[in-house]
Symmetry: C2
Subunit: 663 residues, 2 copies
């Protein structure tokens, strides 16, 4: 009964990981997964460490070396080559060869090398040789033999045996004696569009070119070129299902609908069917498939909105009354948040004894639309459905269809939003919508990208939604729209907009509410997309084009805030993984007044040497080439001309930088 | 095969916990353990949560309610009543009664209460009644019946059923349907001295009153009253074992010892024995037991130093050569940190194939001295022994002797120090020794007390050790000594000093080294404890007395830094758990010059109302009563008079504060 172990290393805080491995972290196919771990050993001996990884269900491990960075933090990476889940773990051990190399070099330099030190090295090399084969074995054996050949100069023997050349070879044959292995962690591998996407939301019933008839899915097809032309790649539709008539809400959310009021698409279900059906006025399943195909033809994708709630007329209400909360008088409990009542909506009761059937039916809704070719879903109010359900449902769906992307529409408390992301949502709505001051933007995105949150939460920034017309968009005018566009599009790699409203800058709110007047949720609109004198389409096209041309803007975690001495000016940069594409954004957060300030740039974060004197910036948004000097530069932005700079930094060629004599 | 669960709550980030439960957290008998967890549920329903706890090996759980504080963080506590390990877990569920109470109150206030709402409440009360007995059952049944009695006024029925009185009763009979349970976490319960202790280190061989003969353990007994008089409660001795003669170090760490040089006590083992033996010149096992008893008589305790390394003359070297690293020439590898050599020391090889016997022998050393009555051990350089060994050894020893306290003497990289604390050391040396500037002190103690580190790492602050005479103590004079004393004694509840050197302010260093000249490690000294004109004894007695009288200073985690506008002035406060004892410390960090500055106090952290105008402070260190007003107050400290204020805040009586009309 041996309790003793000869392991001498310890591995802690492995990342990416979510709550110590309770949930999978998130990554993207073809993009390196950065692995870090705190690894310590006793004494002064050097350690070696690798990350080992395999596809879920696979056997055998691939591996990559970790390097010691600082403060006992080790770093490395692997690049997933397939969708689905990848498992990884960290392995570390005492590296006796590297320890000997380091000590022998020190002793040689100090002139205190002894014959016995070389004999110790010979033993190590002889052990490595035994594990090697063919030529490598011969080379390592020769080193071992030479080390104890007293006829040769001791320093020369030490030099040879401590060369990177030979020590590097021997490193491959380490027995890794007494290696320590971390727990195994999981990473969910999404496709590229999970990391970088640009969403445009529109109501198909308002897509008609003819004000006299409501729009259809076919009308949406006709709009696609316009949307594509602005640089969007995800077209997202509110629920397309039949709409309830009982307690239907009228225009401007009034409790009494007029006979011709179309109702809210989120009051799902009516006599014509429920979550598996298409509103007859929108079209047929064939129309939807045509729309899916038309999106694909243009390199775009269709996203559907899944809202798990039922109007009183939904077929489930009669077929499965036990899925809803019954009241003592036999009625079904409608949604309420006292004193507010939503009598047009029945929430689902996740404490139902019939939970098995309920869960299966809900998952079946996604499966139905997946069968129709849809792979992206925006999920309405997921925080009013059980977390356990989402973990199961999204896990099952992704196992079967690993390309699926789910966006959590939960504007609620931070820990609830994080919980949903941990349980499997690929994207999450954020507080961006309300974050407008410098300090709150800096704090929020630092939390999102530079804490453990980054391992599981992928923000999708929206300046507006059909539910939210913020105070700043009501009053800030065009400058504010442009500012919010630039921020959403450059702070996060995923962003979207409630398209026609943003594009045409609808700014009138229902009095006293942070909501659109004559909200499209309750009535059919006709957009005049040709109203070019009053449209942001060109600016949106410009910004989305910059996003597509600059890999830096397709990243989240490289976001870096820079100092600038004016509370109304916000400065931040992003780089791509190679560090060759660097974009610096400076935004005037005040939509009314010109502001000026002096930067204090972190030049290294911009890919420049810390002592860089001159560098060139091209403003790919406002235009112009700038010549800046060191960290301190003057900036002035008139919001009515251009509320932002989006600078491409012109880096010196790599060679030149590498040979900078200052380094 | 049901996968569906009806659980709707989720529990994350339970604390105290170490790396998600991998290691036990630390707590103290009789002191409440503050438990926190992030708990979220879906929808707007209210949750309820408890912490359940039991002694390790016990059955059945005791429990305490958690309360929702803010941002979905729940808090509660339990108070351990015995030493050893306690297990705890958090349980949470949807609280339908509280949800109904909240909604019913809102609806009543809005005048929208319906009969069916009361019927829903009646159902809930009827279910609770079924779980209750006797009178409680009758009361709850009566509430249920009354709720549906339409002959009574609806609002009156609602009022009764939503009263704290009756809802609180019903709360006890919640079925906790679909409750979620966290993982189980462990807390190691130490005795009070682990939380609050004051250490004095002395070399027994220097304790002789007669310069002509070396000191003994009996001489230490004669010194105890002096040490006790200064307010210390732990007397700690360097290793008391026989000392090696091979390669013995001479005075001032010279490589050649003179014949009468006594050698370093850390070169453990000689012809007279090893780790289980006492140096013959120090005395016998009986003398040690007498010293243990003499300490106990005075309410003090003896701490021994265990240094797991061997001189070449240690019996283990011949008895167990396989416990050491053999070199190819048959010699044993001495300690080295190239280019430094320590030929008087053989480190133990924790990769030995004989690890079982080695581990047992090392643990046996502690057991031997525990059998002699010792319960506190300072462990020398634990970071050069394997972490796995410590986890096993300390775990086994504490299971058998739960009162044991182990102090890790590891001045190494932060993550290694943390690793040792996680593996079981009750106390840890800290970087306090070198932290002297305001910002570095604030940052360091914020990391120690206000991050996850607080759950496992108990700092023991030492201004000096026989190994370390810092630059500031070499040059700062008496003011620096007093400053460092006040800081060590008030920043952390555990602190200690290398006593005679600190008390008598030995400040001469070996040239070029951060080490004492004529270091006691290599020679025998005679202290002149009566040299009162050149002693800090009175100041030490004063400071330690303040620590004993103020429970606030017996805490770590209540440390709170306050703003003060001068980089040389440091301001911080501590409170006891009740918040009734509040101490505010202001230190002038410059030992040469008078400094003045204006505070910006966090009045609430001082137990005062935020709008407090006048409050009284008594300087229990420098003397005097002060009358301050609000957060902004002028401070001036002349280091040559008193480098610090230690203020006792005179709080208004509790009643008065509670009835403050401003609140």
């Amino acid at each position: 009964m041996s309790t003793a172990t000869r392991q001498r290393a310890s591995i802690q805080r492995v990342r990416p990981s979510v709550l110590g491995g309770r949930y999978p972290a998130k990554a993207v196919i073809g993009r390196p997964v950065d692995v870090t771990a705190d690894i310590v050993g006793d004494s002064h001996d050097l350690l070696a460490a690798v990350v080992q990884y395999q596809r879920d269900g696979g056997t055998g491990w691939q591996e990559a070396w970790l390097q010691l960075e600082r403060n006992d933090r080790w770093e490395g990476s692997f690049t997933p080559a397939a969708l689905g889940r990848v498992r990884f773990r960290v392995v570390a051990w005492v590296d006796h060869l590297s320890t000997w190399v380091r000590d022998t070099r020190t002793k040689t330099a100090a002139g205190m090398l002894e014959e016995v030190d070389l004999a110790v090295g010979a033993e190590i090399y002889a052990r490595r040789a035994k594990r090697a084969r063919d030529k490598d074995r011969e080379r390592l054996r020769a080193v071992a033999a030479q080390l104890t050949d007293a006829s040769l100069d001791a320093a020369a023997r030490a030099d040879r045996a401590t060369s990177e050349d030979i020590a590097g070879l021997a490193r491959r044959y380490d027995s890794r004696a007494h290696a320590v292995r971390s727990a195994t962690y999981e990473v969910e591998i999404d496709r590229e569009r999970a990391a970088f996407s640009t969403w445009y939301e529109l109501f198909p019933r308002s897509a008609s070119p003819d004000p006299e008839r409501p729009g259809t899915l076919r009308d949406v097809i006709d709009r696609l070129d316009h949307v594509k032309g602005m640089g969007f790649d995800v077209v997202y539709l509110p629920p397309i299902h039949p709409i309830g008539v009982s307690h239907r809400k009228g225009r401007n959310n009034s409790v009494h609908a007029a006979p011709d009021d179309p109702g809210s698409p989120w009051a799902v279900g009516g006599p014509e069917g429920g979550h598996l059906d298409i509103h007859p006025e929108l079209g047929t399943a064939a129309d939807l498939r045509a729309l899916v195909a038309a999106c694909q033809d243009r390199g775009m994708e269709l996203a559907l909105d899944i809202a798990f709630q039922c109007s009183p007329d939904h077929p489930w209400v009669s077929e499965h009354p036990e899925w809803f909360k019954q009241r003592p008088d036999g009625s079904i409990q409608y949604a309420e948040n006292p004193p507010k009542k939503y009598q047009d909506i029945y929430p689902i009761d996740f404490e139902t004894p019939d939970a098995d059937a309920l869960w299966a039916a809900l998952k079946g809704v996604f499966e139905h639309w997946i069968a129709e070719g849809v792979r992206i879903f925006r999920v309405d109010n997921p925080h009013t459905k059980s977390f356990a359900f989402w973990e199961w449902c999204l896990g099952e769906l992704k196992a079967e269809h690993p390309g699926c992307i789910f966006l959590a529409e939960a504007f609620t408390r931070p820990k609830v939003m994080y919980e949903l992301a941990m349980r499997g949502f690929n994207h999450s709505y954020t507080y961006f919508t309300w974050r407008r001051h410098k300090q709150e933007i800096e704090e929020y995105y630092t939390e999102l990208f530079h804490t453990e949150v980054a391992d599981f939460f992928r923000p999708n920034s929206w300046p507006n939604t059909p539910d939210i017309l913020t105070d700043q968009l009501q009053h800030g005018g065009r400058a504010m729209y442009v500012q919010r566009l630039v921020l959403a599009a450059t702070l996060t790699a995923n962003y979207g907009m409630y398209g026609p409203a943003f594009e045409l800058m609808w700014s009138a709110n229902r009095p006293g509410a942070e909501e659109y007047l004559d909200n499209e949720k309750y009535e059919i609109k006709t957009w005049d997309a040709d109203q070019q004198h009053w449209s942001l389409a060109e600016v949106i096209r410009l910004v989305n084009g910059i996003r597509h041309r600059h890999p830096a803007l397709q990243q989240d975690r490289t976001l870096h805030f820079h100092e600038i001495k004016n509370d109304q000016l916000l400065a931040y940069s992003k780089t791509d993984r190679s560090g060759r594409d660097v974009v610096l954004i400076i935004v005037n957060l005040d939509p009314y007044n010109t502001h000026a300030g002096t930067t204090w740039l972190d030049l290294e974060a911009l890919g420049l040497q810390p002592d860089t004197d001159h560098f060139e910036l091209v403003d790919v948004f406002g235009g112009g080439t700038y010549h800046w000097h060191g960290p301190e530069n003057f900036v002035q932005l008139d919001p009515h001309v251009a509320p932002a700079h989006i600078f491409e930094i012109r880096l010196p060629p790599r060679d030149e930088r590498d040979h900078d004599p200052g380094v």
